[in-house]
Amino acid sequence: MRTGDYKQSYGELVALIDSPPVWLWSAVLLLALIAAPYLLNSYALSFLMIILITVTGALGLNILTGYTGLISLGHVGFLVTGAYAYAVLVSKYHMPPLVGFLGAGVVPALASLIVGAPSLRLKGLYLAITTLAFSFIINTVILEMRWLTNGARGIQVQRPEILGISFDSDAAFTYLCLAFAALTLFATLNIRRSRVGRAFVAIRDNDTAARVMGINLHAYKLFAFVTSAFITGIAGALYGIYLSFVSVEGFPFLLSIEALAILIVGGLGSALGAVLGTILIVLLPEATRLVFSLFSAQMDATFATGAQELKSMLYGLVIILFLRFQPRGLVGAWHDIKRTWVHWPLRY
């Protein structure tokens, strides 16, 4: 009888995919995602697009908060910077969309240096407040730089055409979001198992011990900021394209809180956790609505006409329940289920 899943070498320990069943399920998931745009209606597809865009952004925040332990309340600032960078480059200056995406990553990355550098000596709440202030500053800068950003009027964004492929339809745009989400997932998983990722985790767990081991705290913290902002900026560009209209109003501060909620519910420091957390947070109101609509049409109508208030209540409730009963998040629950499955009927 199998009594556990043992790793016998360092290579096995850091392997991205360590068993044939995981390969198989990954392939099934990928094929399902590829087929989904042609099986789902436009409404369901909009959830898939939001999930893929949010996964990209959440994975970006996960590098900073999950891996490195630096709490950011201002990630919506990087999101909106990325969206504006893309909109300005592509819609205003008619650059190719690929250049727009590059700009959507690079501009927030540069902005992160501005907020990251003075924040290097800050931790916990102090850093959270600094990043929060950044998100407000960036909104004001965007509103004031009318010559570039159109101020409060915002900028229209068209769906892109890249290398002759039009992403105008929802299905095609979903593939673009899927490509970015998959690339980001692959990149962050590789960062986590690399020397850089281990340094991030060392800083998160005990920065004094990390410094004693020779890790350059300033350099690695800045790198975490830059990488995180780059990825979040790309997610911002995708979100701007999804909205078809980039304005500061489309990127409310609540998105920063939602991103943190995703990481907490999913499981801090885990890429899989960020994915699971995103799926849960995005689909929670809709799933609840579907469940309640089974009971009566009146309940369905209540969810339809009071959706946003109920959504806020559900977020709060879920976060409280997770922090109390499953602080390791969904990924912790998943590990528990796997362990029980492998060891059953034994309890260790």
Binding site: Y38, Y43, S46, D170, A171, S244, G306, E309
Partner: protein
């Protein structure tokens, strides 16, 4: 194995991209029902607008249903809350079109939200009448299936400032606007008249959206000696400004814009709001047309809904009337194409709550006639003055 999987995935992706999505034709109609969809902010502060507009839609629908529906089919109304969140507006519109499968759309949230959702509406081809936030982008350039009932913010502000300028020649002017799209529009309209009439502007302020405290701004307005004041807030901001002016014991001639021209605002302003001017394109409730509308609405909605009626109820009612009339003119087998064609043929349709509504070939904006009203706090109402 990985290479095979990658190749299969690539093949599937290419095939899917090549095929393109399937299309469905003219849903939302059964032998007994016609579905009309709407997405509004029903929660949060903008709910004051969204809920009122949806009540207007309900009144028009209830009225039509009481008269036998549209050529024998009852109208069913599907309403979705977006909480004034743009992403949610897009999802809401997709839900009512794709899941609920409505025949036509009405309402559609705020200005930024309706702008963002325009590609979805245009691509779907569904007949749509927008009534909550009339902004130029929605009708310039004209879109085949999207019609807008109302008047532009620019025209509204020009009308109000012209009226106040003619009534108060040679006076000093003050203006404060919000730092968003709405504020820019108000300022643009104001600047047009300033240039044309060479107004003496002694105070020009800009406040951050969500600002609650206007003590410093109003003190500056007082120090500037402004005698005519254009309060460019929406709802709560205008109340705070008027209360602050009351504290400072000054009462300049004040003008406000239609988003804040609702009776609860007057109640909250108290005596400070007495005599302020407002511009609007819907009838005041204090007038004969307004009272007639309230009499009509009372038996058609619940008591709670009746209390939620404000000017947006009238815009919602008018838009729904125009849409229903267009579907009705299509006869027993209405289609999207016919409804759009009939909407285009809309000429001088009387709704009783605003001037007659017309559209035309390439004209998707009803361009409603404006009027100026003055607040009377004793009766908590606005009365027409021109």
């Amino acid at each position: 194995m990985i290479r095979h999987l990658a190749a299969a995935s690539l093949l599937l992706t290419t095939a899917c991209l090549a095929i393109g999505p399937a299309s469905a034709a003219d849903p939302g109609i059964t032998d007994t029902e016609i579905l009309i969809g709407d997405v509004e902010p029903l929660t949060g502060p903008p709910a004051l607008l969204g809920v009122a507009a949806s009540i207007g839609h309900k009144i028009a629908i209830a009225e039509a249903n009481a008269a036998g529906g549209i050529n024998g089919r009852k109208i069913k109304y599907v309403l979705e809350d977006d909480g004034y969140v743009t992403a949610r507006t897009i999802q809401g519109v997709k839900k009512v079109i794709d899941v609920d499968k409505v025949f036509a759309m009405i309402g559609i949230s705020g200005s930024g939200q309706s702008i963002a959702v325009m590609p979805v509406l245009e691509k779907s081809g569904i007949p749509t009448v927008i009534d909550v936030a009339p902004v130029k982008f929605l009708w310039e350039p004209p879109r085949k299936n999207v019609f807008v009932v109302g008047q532009s913010y620019e025209e509204g502000i020009v009308h109000l400032v012209n009226f106040l300028a003619d009534k108060n020649p040679g006076k000093k002017w003050g203006l404060i606007t919000q730092d968003d799209d709405y504020g820019i529009t108000v300022r643009d309209g104001f600047d047009t008249v300033v240039k044309a009439k060479k107004l003496n502007v002694v105070y020009s302020g800009n406040y951050k959206k969500g600002q609650q405290d206007f003590s410093s701004d109003m003190l500056q307005l007082k120090d500037s000696g402004a005698e005519v004041f254009l309060a460019g807030g929406i709802i709560g901001e205008n109340i705070a400004m008027m209360k602050e002016l009351e504290k400072l014991s000054i009462k300049p001639v004040t003008g406000i814009f239609w988003p804040g021209r609702i009776e609860p605002v007057l109640k909250l302003m108290g005596p400070a709001g007495d005599g302020i001017y407002a511009v609007d394109y819907v009838e005041p409730f204090a007038g004969a047309a307004g009272r007639a509308f309230l009499d009509k609405a009372k038996p058609l909605v619940s008591e709670a809904e009746f209390k939620g009626i404000n000017r947006y109820t009238m815009t919602g009612y008018a838009a729904a009337k125009v849409l229903i009339a267009a579907i009705e003119r299509c006869g027993k087998q209405p289609t999207w194409a016919c409804t759009i064609a009939e909407l285009e043929k809309t000429k001088n349709v009387e709704t009783g709550v605003m001037a007659p509504i017309s559209f035309g070939p390439g004209v998707r904006f009803s361009n409603q006639k404006l009027q100026i009203m003055q607040a009377d706090t004793a009766t908590l109402s606005f009365k027409p003055v021109n």
